[in-house]
């Protein structure tokens, strides 16, 4: 009996302890990043700013075509509901768009894009830099690898995820309004007015929470996993895999918590 209980507590306890320890490391990484930015009065060194701009370009700007493609697909799905919406009186589609798209799907799609495109690339790049001795070289040159490699990636990913989510929502709402009107739904301006009426003040706060925190977290996971690679190129693929799995777990878990908090309050 006691042996079984002990075995059960070990089975359950080890992942919990490991998960908590990982969460603490992520929090420490994010906390130190924010501290460095605050201590510098928000002014990054020019060399660090360059890395930040590159990160925003890669994670935000270069993801626009893919986000546009997904927004079009979402709009097609929404438009397919137009006849149903018309039959239900025509006033519900805006509310459905806010509840499903703005509050839930938008941030999830943007998080997925960022993990798939940037989290993986970041982990692979940092792991390769580590294995090739580039990270050690930075240290030996008196360049703090944390400040040069980690800080701009976290900030760039967070900024990009916020922007990408807003872009995705704008594109999918706009395309949904146009396509719905073609399939017998409300006029585009009417549908957008319905959306505006259904939005609440808390939606803005939720959107920030569902993008800024996952943005920081995805980059933090990629940095942790990438920089944990050691002396062989065989360390690179596991770093990428771990980044994908852990980023999805943490980001989706966080978004679920925010949604639950919103609906419960």
């Amino acid at each position: 009996m006691w042996t079984r209980l002990l075995s059960l507590s070990r089975t359950l306890g080890t992942p919990v302890v490991n998960g908590a320890s990982y969460a603490v490391r992520l929090a420490a990484l994010i906390g130190e990043t924010l501290w460095i930015v605050l201590a510098a009065g928000g002014r990054l060194r020019p060399a660090v700013r360059q890395v930040f701009y590159r990160q925003v370009y890669f994670t935000g700007v270069k993801a626009v075509p893919f986000a546009l493609l997904l927004a079009s697909m979402v709009a097609l799905v929404v438009a397919a509901q137009a006849p149903w919406s018309a039959a239900a009186g025509g006033g519900v589609l805006g509310t459905v768009l806010v509840v499903v798209l703005v509050r839930e799907l938008g941030p999830v799609v943007a998080v997925t894009i960022v993990i798939a495109r940037s989290g993986t690339a970041m982990a692979a790049e940092l792991a390769t830099m580590r294995v090739d001795g580039e990270v050690d070289t930075l240290s030996a040159l008196g360049i703090d690898p944390f400040e040069y490699l980690v800080v701009p990636r976290l900030l760039g990913t967070a900024v990009s995820l916020v922007a990408l989510t807003i872009f995705f929502l704008a594109a999918s709402l706009g395309a949904s309004a146009l396509l719905s009107s073609l399939l017998g739904g409300p006029a585009p301006t009417d549908l957008l007015a319905q959306v505006a009426r259904a939005l609440q003040g808390a939606d803005g706060a939720a959107l920030v929470a569902k993008t800024v925190v996952p943005g920081l977290t995805i980059a933090a996971v990629a940095c942790l996993e990438g920089l944990a690679a050691w002396r062989s190129t065989t360390d690179v693929p596991p770093a990428v895999t771990a980044t994908v799995v852990r980023s999805f777990s943490v980001a989706f878990g966080w978004n679920t918590l925010v949604s639950a908090f919103l609906y419960l309050t």
Binding site: R45, G133, D136, S139, A140, L141, G142, Y148
Partner: protein, 221 residues
């Protein structure tokens, strides 16, 4: 007086001092690098690299002490370590240039990071000194190993350090580029206020540099 000479003049104490150093694969290494000295550390490439990594605080010794300009780099806070290491030149094994930057950007990065206002001029001077004017806007993967190694040397001496640490610089280089790199290293090391610690399994390098030789006490496998 150059920065290196000023540093050397300030400190009569050794620039680098290792006592009873044990790392994975080597045990009981003692060495001292005094101002103006050229020291060749002879032994397997991995062991030599590990000693240099320990000197700059990138590898924790199993036992023994390491001092760089009188300080233990591994025991300093991260920012203080960065400041200490900006006084040391480092030419790692195979150069380790940043692959996503051009050769020029590789040189500019440490200058800009440390806020040197004359970064562009210093970078141009370094490119000219090491004969690198022709392909500074290429990325490292598109130039020869010899060019990459020269860029890594140029980057290592950008701040005119008092001490240059060099890890197996001739590895995989052909004869002519190896001779040219050796000459560049020797020319730098012979300038006043400069000291050089080079590790290599190649004894001919020690002879070419006129270096004092020291063997790494390797532990049996």
């Amino acid at each position: 007086m150059t920065a290196a000479a000023a540093t050397a003049a300030r400190a009569d104490s050794p620039l680098a001092e290792v006592s009873g150093l044990s790392l994975d694969g080597l045990a009981g290494l003692d060495l001292v690098v005094d101002p103006g000295q050229i020291l060749h550390l002879h032994g397997p490439a991995e062991a030599g690299g590990a000693v240099l990594r320990a000197l700059v605080g990138l590898e924790r010794p199993l036992s023994g002490t390491v001092r760089l300009f009188g300080e233990d780099p591994a025991a300093l806070p991260r920012r203080a370590t960065a400041s200490l290491l900006s006084r040391v030149g480092w030419l790692p094994h195979r150069g380790a240039l940043l692959a996503n930057l051009t050769l020029r950007e590789n040189l500019l990065l440490p200058l800009e990071f440390h806020g040197h206002g004359d970064a562009a001029a210093r970078c141009a001077a370094a490119l000219a000194r090491f004969g690198l004017e022709e392909a500074p806007d290429q990325r490292p993967e598109f130039v020869t190993l010899a060019v990459r190694r020269r860029v890594a040397l140029a980057r290592a001496v950008l701040f005119d350090p008092a001490l240059l640490l060099v890890d197996d610089p001739l590895d995989d280089l052909e004869e002519d580029p190896a001779r040219a790199l050796t000459a560049a290293l020797e020319a730098w090391a012979r300038e006043p206020g400069h000291s050089l610690l080079v590790t290599s399994p190649d004894l001919a390098l020690a002879a070419a540099l006129g270096a004092r030789r020291l063997s790494i006490p390797v532990t049996p496998a």
